[in-house]
């Protein structure tokens, strides 16, 4: 069974501080990992995916297969980064369905 764990429900940082949203997964294979973001009163949208190896809005995430982690990082948080962040996994042995973590609410204080 595939599972995604986000240990922090709420993460509060000050503007300009580094931020790391943790994500751990369990899956017996090579998954595809995503981060989705939901800003206040907006739709859930893709932030980044591990195979793209991109930096989106200053965020990066590296897949660590040894630690089964896909933590989301940004060196300097901005107030507009305040949102709900969901880590998600697609396991190709399990019907290609997206499994979400419980989500972490990031609050960036001025």
């Amino acid at each position: 069974a595939q599972r995604v764990t986000q240990p922090e429900k709420l993460l509060s940082v000050f503007k300009g501080a580094p931020v790391e949203l943790k994500c751990n997964y369990s899956y017996s294979g090579s998954p595809e990992l995503f981060w989705y973001v939901q800003y206040s009163r907006q739709r859930l949208q893709l932030l980044l995916r591990h195979i793209s190896r991109e930096s989106i809005k200053g965020f990066t995430a590296d897949l660590n297969k040894g630690e089964t982690s896909f933590h989301l990082k940004k060196p300097f948080a901005q107030e507009e980064d305040s949102a709900m962040y969901y880590c998600a996994l697609i396991g190709f042995n399990a019907g290609n369905m997206l499994t979400f973590g419980g989500g972490t609410r990031l609050m960036v204080k001025p």
Partner: protein, 112 residues
């Protein structure tokens, strides 16, 4: 230029009164999904269509049905809504099964 459109944004129905939520897409994606999201929880997949093939999640209540009459539209029917069905319902699409999903704004369902 919304690509996944859900109507209505807010729906109020009475306990036990059937309700239908709709979703349309302009992306011509093969896969359409329905999720239920309760307050402070992650979206939970109810079912999905791969083209015309319907796939139900094992723990989706029998009360929930879906229809996909064509590529663009997908409906969520709740036959006899209970108070526990009050939630945000999200529709999403993807080009193929392993591709990123595009979400609509959701329909917030309230049960009186």
């Amino acid at each position: 230029d919304a690509m996944v459109i859900q109507n209505p944004r807010y729906q109020v129905t009475q306990f036990g009164k059937p309700v239908t939520l709709s979703c349309s897409q302009t992306l011509n994606h093969n896969v359409m999904y329905w999720y239920q999201q309760k307050s402070s929880q992650a979206p939970k997949l109810l079912f999905h269509y791969y083209d015309k093939d319907f796939n139900n999640e094992a723990d989706t209540p029998d009360n929930f049905q879906s229809r996909r009459p064509n590529t663009s539209f997908c409906f969520l029917d709740i036959r006899s809504p209970g108070l526990g069905d009050a939630a945000m319902y999200l529709c999403a699409t993807s080009r193929d099964g392993g591709d990123p999903q595009h979400f609509g704004d959701g329909t917030r369902l309230s049960i009186l």
